[in-house]
Subunit: 347 residues, 2 copies
DNA sequence: GTAATAGTGTCTCTCAGACACTATGAG
DNA sequence: CTCATAGTGTCTGAGAGACACTATTAC
């Protein structure tokens, strides 16, 4: 029997037994009436949760807020909130939540890519009441520290590797972020290319917090988990771990056939920076020369600005000034970039 | 609904109505109340809608129900209904709706692929009240006539071409279902089986009602549209037209990289039948010889049964007996099948 | 100087697409 | 017989991946 990833098998549900509502009458009638008085039904809360991804110092980070009360008090969770019934669309609600948590305003916010990821509504996912969450996925360029926004007890960018060690579903031999990048570990994670492991990615987790990306000023009163320190996997509240995993897989797939990787970068960028995005999100090193040629060969992916890097280049180890590009007008990459590996994902 | 005594804040969130984004007070306090009594919020109804696609006589059909009351009384709509709060997951709700509408029971229903498509929650999409719909997409093998299920005034399989003439986004020169086999065009294609396909699809609208798919006992009072007669595009109720368009695009993309096309077929099938699925869903003719080789070369896509067609082959105009295959165990096609042309279209 | 990067050239292998061709069976 | 299909052989062009190589800059 087929069925891919998120597919569900169908089982026959029976419901009659426990249905407290009228037995004889046509369900449609009930629905009709319920349509006018939804309170005849058990209420379901509708929220949006946002998985906002960004790159800080060469590592993927996700925006998280600290919960100030039970359940999961003190735990990290995805930012989100209730949809304002009838007054905003789901997309608008997600954008609003993102803006509140990041403190971004219009101009900067426009550079953020936001798309719907999926909905989560398993019974019991919130112990208090039935809640359906519509999850959104956001790609943002390097952002300043998260605002402990208006309605967030504490917000911070957490390194993804602290939450999803190894990187994700579909157990692959290639462990994206942690493994293979550490000095002591065996050569290359994927095994493909032992040498060119990018040092940036390597030191990212630590180096970042200390120097380039000092963690956001923690909400003072919150004593609990500061930004997690590398090793022990952080468990997100509710089913947010699963949502995050789904989001990561979506992000990895999406940059294959769309130019959205550029959404992680400044308006102008070098091919090397773009390659770093792919390497970080996919968790695998890419062949620099071929990547370069490939990107320039896909119509509409990037367009030249005619300029080159001029200022001091952070972390540069030397080399010629790279040319600067901006995002092109293509919405789909054609042909798509191919993720290395993939073999294992099939079975 | 259950509530736990000590509940605090469902999530840092302000109550929608007030949302003073209160200066001093901790938002979490308000959350406390909000989480505790969701009725403090304007209620949002949560429903699932199912886009069930099947192939009947060489044309894509979608399951639809006729609305028995306002709004959109008499119009066709996607089958769907309210999620039973706290007692079923979204997936289960979708499966339940599909079962009710198709009248399918366990064994047959297990062969149906069902996956979440996306959520729709624009304000005003239902004139009566705020409703968020989680849409599902189903691929089903040729199914019998739709049951006027327990809660459906009338249910029927409508030819997609009657609703989305021309087929959908990305307006292509290739018109999916209507475009005829151009004599002189290379062998295969939508034009493959000129006899069965064309006329069928064309007359399907009428023929179906009279012979092959007699409309489910029409809801007597509903005078409105019988199964739409070919030409005038049917407008679905609510935003279901857009949902259907999204579903079709998803289906077209999904069969590229998953073996889900086989979900439209019987447990065993020929390569020619499989190709007909692709041609119908993509609305474009494929090169028969290359398709054949390609399918057999993708690991895990199909596996041979060792048998060949034996019975009378409907619509056959001669030729050798085709070998029979069944679906393989791959979840992803590797490398993927490529859709002809491709242009722009991204969400 | 060394080391690392930007960018180009070019080879090989895979695969998609096109065509040619044989074999089979319905009418 | 004709004609449409099932299935195989094979060529060509595009493109991915690998490697070699030059040029440029930080240290």
């Amino acid at each position: 029997m087929r069925r891919t990833g998120a597919a569900v098998g169908i089982r026959r549900q029976h419901t009659a037994a426990t249905d407290p509502r009228g037995a004889g009458e046509r369900p449609d009638e009930r629905d009709f009436l319920a349509g006018y008085d939804p309170r005849a039904f058990d209420p379901i809360a509708v929220t949006v949760d946002v998985v906002a991804l960004t790159l800080r110092g060469g590592a993927l980070h996700v925006l998280a807020v600290r919960r100030g009360g039970p359940p999961f008090e003190g735990a990290w969770a995805l930012p989100g909130g209730f949809v304002r019934a009838g007054r905003e669309s789901l997309d608008e609600a997600a954008a609003r939540e993102l803006a509140e948590e990041t403190g971004l305003r219009a101009p900067a916010l426009d550079r953020v890519h936001l798309e719907q990821l999926g909905s989560y509504g398993d019974p019991g996912r919130d112990p208090r009441m039935p809640v359906v969450s519509i999850a959104y996925l956001a790609f943002a360029p390097g952002l300043p520290d998260a605002h402990a926004g208006s309605d967030a007890a504490g917000a911070a960018w957490l390194p993804l590797e602290a939450i999803l060690p190894g990187g994700q579903p579909a157990a692959e031999p290639s462990r994206p972020f942690e493994q293979g990048r550490r000095p002591g570990t065996h050569g290359g994670g994927t095994g493909r290319r032992p040498a060119p492991v990018r040092p940036e990615a390597q030191k990212s987790a630590e180096a970042q917090r200390s120097a380039e990306a000092p963690e956001p000023a923690e909400s003072p009163e919150a004593a609990a988990p500061a930004v997690p320190s590398g090793q022990a996997p952080v468990r997100l509240a509710f089913d947010h771990g699963r949502i995050l995993a789904d989001a990561l897989e979506r992000a990895r797939a999406k940059i294959e056939y769309t130019p959205l990787a550029t959404a992680f970068l400044a308006p102008t960028f070098t091919i090397g920076e773009l390659r770093a995005v792919y390497e970080t999100v996919w968790g695998a090193p890419l062949h620099a020369a071929n990547f370069h040629r490939k990107v320039l060969s896909v119509p509409g992916f990037v367009e030249s600005t005619g300029r080159t890097e001029t200022d001091a280049r952070p972390g540069s180890r030397g080399g010629p000034r790279a040319r600067l590009y901006r995002s092109g007008d293509a919405r789909l990459l054609h042909p798509a970039l191919l993720r290395p590996d993939r073999e294992a994902a099939v079975r």
